[in-house]
Amino acid sequence: MTLASGLLAADTPVAQNVFFYLMSAVIIAAAIAVVTTKNVVRAALYLIVVFASVVGIYLLLAAEFVAVTQILVYIGAIMVLMLFGIMLTRAKIGRETDLTNDNWWLGLATAVLLVGVMGYALIDAYSDDKLPRDTQVATIVDNSGQGSNTATVGDAIFSQYLIPFEVVSVLLTAALVGAIVLARKDRG
């Protein structure tokens, strides 16, 4: 199978494909801007663009609850935290020349090698797989055979995945208490 067959299927919904490639182009361009820009604040703003476009990809995969959570947690909370971090560490607000390591080319070589190997492996292994058209109309499965993905997610979290969910809650509490303890001013 060639690259073209991995990326384009003949009998696909055109609108979804157009939306997917539009979102992908924005994601890739903004992500490259995040890792190459010379301005820390601008990098954070490009990162918001990446997150917002990834929301579009989630919606395409009929994961509307994850999409809304991404908006609330990533764009709403994590990015504000990042901007606070930038301000509190007094990064220069304008252009900064010293943001990249001297041996950045080593990182570039690693990333290019990795994308080559992963791309080859993915095209080799999965070029025949197509997503069912069903996932694009907001239902995957439900016990009763109907209902939304959101209902299914809630059902799964509080039945099958209850223990992992509780563990994540405890971890989140511990991490945030730890962060407060670490960042307190009067601590040593």
Binding site: Q70, L88, A111
Partner: protein, 114 residues
């Protein structure tokens, strides 16, 4: 030629290709890896880690959609929660480093270097 063969094998019930999402995830992951390796500023490294986690989420949801399983969405939610915890602790550590050394340059944090 290629497309004609595909049109034949494509059943009427098929939607998007799985590989579209996987390759997007791979590209986003590798951009994040480049950012982690190449950036000096600790906050920028944390941002690159967020790119990597988003790539993982795309993969989880794509495989969940492929298998008609909700597990992909559930674990994507767990990843988002872990990412929130990681950013909180990570930024606290970066703040301590800044307070002690007045710099967030990762090349300056070399106390463990022999």
């Amino acid at each position: 030629m290629l497309f004609a063969a595909q049109a034949q094998e494509a059943a009427g019930n098929d939607g998007l290709m799985l590989n579209q999402f996987l390759l997007l995830g791979a590209a986003l992951f590798c951009i994040g890896v480049y950012g982690v390796l190449a950036r000096k500023n600790a906050v920028m490294v944390l941002m690159s880690i967020e790119l990597i986690l988003n790539a993982v989420n795309i993969n989880l949801l794509a495989f969940g959609a492929l298998h008609g399983s909700i597990a992909g969405a559930v674990f994507a939610l767990f990843v988002i929660a872990i990412a929130a915890a990681e950013v909180g602790v990570g930024l606290a550590i970066v703040l301590i480093i800044y307070r002690n050394r007045h710099s967030v340059d990762l090349a300056d944090v070399d106390a463990m270097k022999g």
